[in-house]
Symmetry: C3
Subunit: 201 residues, 3 copies
């Protein structure tokens, strides 16, 4: 199994878990939950592949779909778990780190420029959560309060910079992912965020 | 004319009719109606083609656009028809069946795996209606109450299963489409739907 | 630099400026502003390229990203400029004209049919503004009141018609763009718009 494949499976499973729970909390039916879980978990990687001229990975690999189905079933079975807020946030942060690395990794394998690799890392990581929130009519956290985009961007830049410095691929991915997790965790813990724009209106 | 082409034209026309009517009921102007009709009718097939590495069919075939224009003109001409709810639902169900079959059919022609064929059938069928509802700021029926996704999924699985059993392609498509229509009609008639998720919140 | 490249850079910069200002007026943070500016400015051209089987231009060309970053910085620096409504509208109209021409131009270079060229021109021009409004939860101007889609369509058709009449490419693009600007300006000035659909409900 390649690094990319492992990263894709991990991020798909965690994003599907988070997506299924968000959909369940909005009282969607089982079909809606499965749909939101699928969109939340594969749309980022799908965009990444389409932009690079490849078929989406769920067309090729049955394990992607299996991991979404597993996540949905888990969500429906463990429905009585109520105090899940903190675990969800941890999973979402983990998925964000892994998806960022998978985007950079594929861009690198496809020989894009470094700035395209950073952008593709961010797109892979943030698209699913954004669509999840739009579909569930939750205010998109990407656009407010949170530091999802910033964390992903800093981590992707770290991964790319380490590769430029000839650090080994797997180690660079791990360090880049750690930067994503650290940036998001620190920013949430200290309530750091980018400033808002205050116009004189 | 190939099976795929006939299916695409039929689903485009019916989805455009439904989309134009939904947009008209939200009091959009003529341009908005044409826009929603176009999105509702071609976005599913466009996604299907892009995922399979092909150009969207409306780039290649002028009949797709012509059928959308015809649907919009029909909607504007027959504006006094008020009791259209039931006919719309029948058309939407028919379009759903045809689009599901077109997605499976193209996936099959492009030699995807069976699970990808099922997924592409569902994506082809449900995308347009979902975007239509988001654009018109109607609550997406896909996520609530209705059984659009389930009907499409069951029909796509039927088509794929029949093909695996070496039933002829055209017959398999007709039977698969009939399953879509039957599943949706029965579920609406008996008010069946997938259960909702009741958490203990 | 090719005609297409110049058109893409111009439309990206102006759409990024407009997008950043709309996001700033909705009090998004700096990250949200950059994100909306990026989506508003590149999504039309990205769809255009994906539909034609090409990689998005921002994967290949670092100047696209640079022009978005410049637009965001300009917006943040000149935050005290309050009476910007009229300038924004002028910029948005200019971006619309340029993006329409870029869509037609690329379609022409890729040897599509004339109706596909017109459609790709409109898609390139209107997608960014539509997504910008959806993300910022502003009512999409494309669907109401304004004549963005109509102006783009008329200009794209003009460009295509002039090319069919063997007018030189650059001249055709300038005239087509002028038609977009004229159509939108006249329609706003005289408050012209397409009629709404009045059903008997």
């Amino acid at each position: 199994m390649s690094l990319l494949h492992i990263l894709d499976l991990l991020s798909t499973f965690t994003f599907a878990l988070v997506g299924a729970r968000v959909a369940a909390d909005k009282a969607l039916d089982y079909g809606g939950i499965a749909f939101v879980a699928a969109i939340a978990s594969v749309s980022g990687g799908t965009l990444r592949n389409v932009f690079l001229g490849l078929r989406p990975i769920w067309i090729i690999d049955p394990w992607i779909i299996s991991s979404i189905i597993a996540a949905v079933i888990l969500t429906l079975v463990f429905r009585r778990v109520t105090h899940i807020g903190r675990s969800l946030l941890i999973m979402d942060t983990f998925g964000l780190a892994v998806a960022t690395m998978s985007g950079v990794q594929l861009a690198r394998e496809m020989n894009t420029t470094w700035f395209a690799a950073i952008l593709l890392g961010v797109i892979t990581a943030v698209t699913g959560g954004l669509l999840r929130d739009v579909l569930c009519q939750v205010e998109p956290v990407l656009l407010h309060r949170e530091t999802i985009g910033t964390s992903s961007l800093v981590g992707a830049a770290t991964f790319v910079a380490l590769l430029q410095l000839n650090v080994a691929g797997n180690l660079s991915a791990i360090l880049g992912g750690a930067v994503v997790v650290a940036t998001r965790t620190i920013s949430i813990h200290f309530d750091l965020h980018l400033p808002r724009f205050n116009s004189q209106r």
